[in-house]
Symmetry: C2
Subunit: 434 residues, 2 copies
């Protein structure tokens, strides 16, 4: 039976859902030209039908009962933009069981249950597209799954959380304090009242799970990502970083080599010559290194009603095209590579280290000895007195060292009497010194 | 009849062709996983079978006769990486007549005859993919045709020529002279012995034809692109630009609004806060502004054996997938929007203007009067004496003015006695002053 019109069930009518309705209604002609079929939002699942909204939707399209979408034989595609794990997961699995295709912006769900959802979709010949779940308006998942399909991706680095990038950019540009800028971000609506998920790196970690799973063809689990947030980053750290030629970024890193893979999210000093260093404010960017293609970067808005909704609708267009071609579900790639996580002695990085010591002879000798014993070689050293306290501050950057060595050296230094305080340490990315 | 293996005819075994052979041979397993079919390079068209090559190819695969590829019923896909218009065009048209799919990296051909080639392909249910023709390793054509398919693209700006970007970056970073750096670029192989096509902007113009045709759904002709190269750019211009907060870039610009479209390639002052300003060396970047998605940018290597070859092979993978789905040629979009080119009084830009005048009272009054009469308002003014010659140098930046007004004012100033010399003028892109 040839479809005459594609009917969509929309779950969620927040900012993204509203954008989706606006685009589908406002671009009917374009969509028709692209897919050959009119597309229509048939039902919208909301929590409250009587709420005041920024968009006019006929009340009969609204429902508070998910089954009006899930049980409707007329609805071909479910767009899930309600967020959260439950009941979004159950709705999506039920929709797939009923042969409906899914477009979702739900990073939490895809990071935690992507495997289960994609397997069921493949089995039922359904599409699941989730471009909007990572880096809002940036078509990075499509690039990874299509454009670089014949390449071997060795490294993915992402600034994939707009809230933390806004905070760090502001701290860097204005020399402002973390708590000050967080409060401003909350006032502007860039950070939530409870900012934990953003500032502690959890949101970024979920996105890195999605990116690395797709890029490496290996199912990565959230608990395999090592995560450190930005709440401990001080303006002093940022100032020292800048003086050394770096910008502080909450950087997602996924890397694979012959030994295995590593995925992490942590505040990182990114050298100013690296294209990621100049990604500021709420913008996102994903840097991909492929064995053949070399360095590429994708930059764009990380969130926002229209950017995210645009990407949702372009996923919808792909679903409709696939329906016409009767190829839904065929594009879902299985993870075919074996997973081998690197141990800490296989994870190498350059490091930045800042500590307070007594201002007395011989201190640095002891510190440099510990580093040497752990096979860490120094790249730059800055020692300066903190006159008031008869203390000195030491800022060190290292050449590449294993995480194991660095952690060990840190632990040893913390126990030393002559180390008053380890102020901070960060990974370093980019720049010439290797 | 189900295909057991996909046989490819390769036309050209230069750097890109060599890369294609390497990737196809080196990634057999990956390609098989992605397409379900083994892919094999069956014949390679070369000029000289006995030439020494950096790659080992069995001599029986080489041919100097294009018909061995075109007439072979076994060959499903022709990859054209020989370059040039003739005979590449004839080969491609013949291949399409015979139902073979095309992957090409040939920007000259696609810029000049893209319409003819794509129409024939559509008619014959053949694919033509040409991602590698613009910005080597950057999957920008796929992004425009798929990811932003539901958006309305309003602006495309590109640094799409690596040679000129290398030259301008070097001039900016080292304060070096144009001719000096051009010679260095030639020595490094980044510029050809006859660099005209690159430095005069023709290469960039061809790429902008391809980008704007696809992005705006309007067939743009090469002669509709206004083009100015970089051979007149001096190190003084670059220094002044930097002091004002700009980087000099050879910028391709394609813009559309309610009044019409404009496409140009010219040296442009790009504000340092704009993501394009930090694209240096032989890297390319394409900035896309969509009504919904907002600002996005795609960054990557503009050329090179492996980046370009990777993109060629990913186009090949798409062709093979389409063959399995029997949907070849269906994805070729017709240009459905009406073409209306903006006239010069509809093209607005900020401008930079540098001139030499006698160092005497009243000069600036006369110049500012001419600008005012042409409805051009000043943003910044710098006047400084050139002591040796009793002359002064005036550097002006303007707010947005029409190209017609600016051209008129320029012509009037050139006739003025008090203007000794108009040194240079450039468009300005980015920055806050509008």
């Amino acid at each position: 039976m040839e479809k005459q019109v594609i009917k969509v069930g929309l779950m969620g009518l927040g900012t993204v859902g509203t954008g989706v309705v606006r685009i589908i209604e406002g671009h009917q002609e374009d969509l028709l030209k692209q897919t050959g079929l009119p597309i229509q939002v048939e039902k919208i699942l909301v929590r409250n039908k009587d709420k005041n909204r920024s968009i006019d939707v006929p009340i009969e399209k609204l429902t508070t009962d998910a089954n009006e979408i899930l049980d409707s034989p007329e609805i071909d595609v479910v767009i899930e933009v309600m967020g959260g794990i439950h009941p979004a997961k159950e709705y999506i699995l039920t929709a797939l069981e009923k042969g409906k295709h899914i477009v979702t912006a739900n990073k939490d769900l895809m990071a935690l249950y992507g495997d289960e959802i994609l397997s069921l979709a493949k089995k039922n010949h359904c599409d699941v597209f989730y471009e909007a779940s990572v880096a809002g308006g940036i078509p990075i998942l499509r690039a990874l799954s299509e454009s670089f399909s014949s390449d071997r991706i060795t490294k993915i680095m992402g600034i994939v959380n707009g809230t933390t990038n806004f905070i760090l950019s502001k701290m860097s540009q204005e020399g402002a304090d973390y708590h000050e800028v967080l409060a401003e971000a909350q006032a502007l609506g860039y950070a939530e009242a409870d900012p934990t998920s953003d500032v502690e790196g959890l949101d970024a970690a979920r996105k890195m799970v999605i990116l690395s799973t797709l890029g490496f063809h290996i199912p990565i689990k959230l608990e395999e990502v090592s995560v450190r947030g930005i709440s401990q980053v001080t303006k002093e750290d940022i100032t020292y970083a800048k003086n050394l030629g770096y910008e502080m970024k909450l950087l997602g890193l996924a890397e694979q080599n012959g030994e295995g893979i590593e995925v992490s999210v942590e505040p990182t000093l990114v050298h100013k010559s690296h294209p990621l260093a100049s990604v500021n404010g709420v913008y996102n960017a994903v840097y991909v290194h492929g064995q053949a293609v070399g360095e590429t970067m994708f930059y764009g808005p990380g969130a926002g009603e229209l950017p995210t909704a645009t990407v949702v609708v372009s996923d919808l267009v792909t679903v409709v095209k696939n329906m016409k071609l009767q190829v839904n579900g065929l594009g879902i790639a299985s993870s075919y590579n074996e997973k081998k996580l690197k141990s800490d002695d296989q994870r190498f990085s350059k490091y930045f280290l800042r500590m307070i010591v007594p201002d007395q002879p011989g201190v640095f000798t002891q510190i440099s000895q510990i580093l040497a014993e752990n096979e860490i070689s120094l790249a730059t050293i800055l020692q300066q007195p903190k006159s008031k306290e008869k203390k000195a501050e030491i800022i060190i950057t290292t050449h590449r060292a294993s995480k194991q060595s660095f952690t060990m050296a840190l632990a040893q230094m913390e126990k030393m009497e002559i180390v008053s305080e380890i102020k901070s340490y960060y990974r370093i990315e980019g720049g010439e010194t290797e």
